[in-house]
Structure formats: structure tokens, C-alpha cells
């Protein structure tokens, strides 16, 4: 009996519910949704992440370092005489004394390890935080 009922109700539903028209939202619905989406896209473009040091500047810094290293190797300069050589190309006359003026304080080993770990964590965390902000 239940199977008959089910079959009957299904047949009646197919005949009636299957012929119904869909409801229409108010006029301009699509345009309103697109406006919301466009506003969101524009908002997002206002907050595009821009690095403090641009790619161009990084390239210049990298080029300067490579040039300096190449110069050192080419001239066969020993590291301890770099300040003298630099002073010879007249960056500054006091640079030759740099080696004597800058002296590292005698820091405890644990402090150096701690600072190194902190620096490492910061370098790892920055890209992670950046990605999280971008995702949100």
C-alpha cells in the first residue's frame, strides 16, 4: 500500500510541481550583485601589498655587492686591507680606520644564539604574515 501511495504521489508531483515557473528576483538584481563585486575588486586593488624596497632597488643592491666581490677577487685583495683599498678609491678618508674603530663587544654565547634565532624567526614570519593578510 505504501509503495502504491509513493508512486501515486510521485506521479501527481511530476505532473504538477514539474510544471511550475521559477520566481524572479526584482529588476536589476544582476547589476546590484555586479556592483557589489566590482566595489570589492576595487577595494582590494587599493590595498595591494607594495614592498618597502622595490625590486629595482634590490637589483641595484645585488649588483653593487656582486661588483664589490668581483672587484675584491680581481684585485686579489685580502679582507684586512679592504678598508685601505676603499680609501684609495676615495670613498672616505676615515674608512681605513674602520677596522680599529669598530670593535665587537664581548657578548655571551647564549645572547648571540638568541638573537640569531629571533632574526631567523622574523625572516620566516614576515612572509607568513604577508600571505595571511593577502588571504584575508
Amino acid at each position: 500500500m505504501k509503495e502504491y501511495d509513493e508512486e501515486f504521489l510521485k506521479r501527481l508531483s511530476d505532473k504538477t510541481v514539474g510544471n511550475l515557473d521559477l520566481e524572479k528576483p526584482s529588476v536589476g538584481f544582476s547589476a546590484r550583485v555586479m556592483n557589489q563585486i566590482n566595489a570589492r575588486v576595487e577595494d582590494k586593488s587599493l590595498y595591494v601589498y607594495t614592498p618597502l624596497i622595490s625590486k629595482k632597488v634590490w637589483m641595484i643592491i645585488a649588483f653593487a655587492i656582486v661588483a664589490l666581490v668581483a672587484y675584491v677577487f680581481k684585485e686579489n685583495i685580502y679582507w684586512e686591507v679592504i678598508p685601505q683599498k676603499l680609501s684609495a678609491i676615495d670613498f672616505t678618508s676615515r674608512l681605513s680606520d674602520l677596522k680599529f674603530k669598530i670593535s665587537m663587544p664581548n657578548l655571551p654565547y647564549i645572547f648571540i644564539v638568541g638573537v640569531s634565532i629571533l632574526a631567523f624567526m622574523t625572516l620566516v614570519e614576515i612572509p607568513l604574515i604577508k600571505r595571511l593578510i593577502e588571504k584575508n
Partner: protein, 191 residues
Amino acid sequence: MNHLDDFKIIEQVLEGREEAYAVLIERYEQLVFTLALRMLKNREDAEEASQDVFVKAFKALNKFKGEAKFSTWIYRITYNKCLDMLARIKRQPAVADIEELNHSNFKEVETVIDKMELEERNAQIKKCIESLPEDEAFLITVYYFEDRSVNELVQITDLTESNIKIKLYRARKRLFTMLNKILSEEKKTDL
């Protein structure tokens, strides 16, 4: 064909042509709105929910893997959105008793329905669907507008196949119980 076209449109949107998304909205706005209306029973709430559904779908478009049809995916978003809104509204619908319709008056209901004008019949059926419990109204609407597939309903709602079949049976029985009641009352007033 729509399935394939939907993918092409999604690709265009993901490539940066956001305006192509309007095609998807126009393609699905009526069904999404109808589903929201069937569940929320209020045009303003349904329109708000439908807008949110399309904006949410746009935001998550890069997560759409294409394993299911876009329609299945957006109906799932609609279903969940409406459930969220219903939880917020906490409205208790008046539910018709499904035991009132019995085997003896089946034929009578069918004869009256057959005699009715199409427009009037559709209006009465719509009225009855709107009075169904939210989940039953949603299921019966998707079932009749989307290939009559129980499997698709499983993907949309996460309910089991047997649960959906029971809910569809209940929805049909409740629907014609209500219709029978309306028709009987009309008959009484005519006399």
C-alpha cells in the same frame, strides 16, 4: 551544454574578466532566488540571501574545482546560506499534518487537480510549497528543476540518499494534504 559553458565563463572570470560573471548570475539567479524564497518564505530575505550567495560564490570561485556542476555548487551555497539565515531568524513555520491524506481521497485530489485551470493550479501548488518545512521545500524544488536526481541532492545537502527519499515522500504527501484541505474548503464555500 551549460555545464561546459559554465567552466569557460569561470575560466574567464579567473583570468580577470570579472564582467563575465554576470552571465552566470543571469543564468542561475531565478533558481537561486526560488530556492531561497522556498526556504525563507519572504521575498526580501530571499533577495538578500541570493545576493550574498552570488558574492560568496565569486569570492570562492578559485576554490571551485569542477568536480561537480557549477549549479550543484551554487545550490549548496544557497542551502547553507539559507540555513544560516533561518538559524538567525529562528522562525517556526506552521507545518501541515501529513497523516490527513489517505488512500481513499487520492483519486479525488487528482480529479480536482486535473479539472483546474493551469494558472490556478500552479498558484495553489506554489502556495502549498511555500507552506512546506524549509528543507522539504528546498529538496522538492531542486528535484523538479534539476534533472530529478537524488544523487545531486545528496551532494548539495550532505544528507543520505535514504533520508532524501523520505523527505521527498513526506514533502509530496504534505503538499497534497494541504492542497486537499484547500480544495475541500473551497468546495464547502461554493456550496
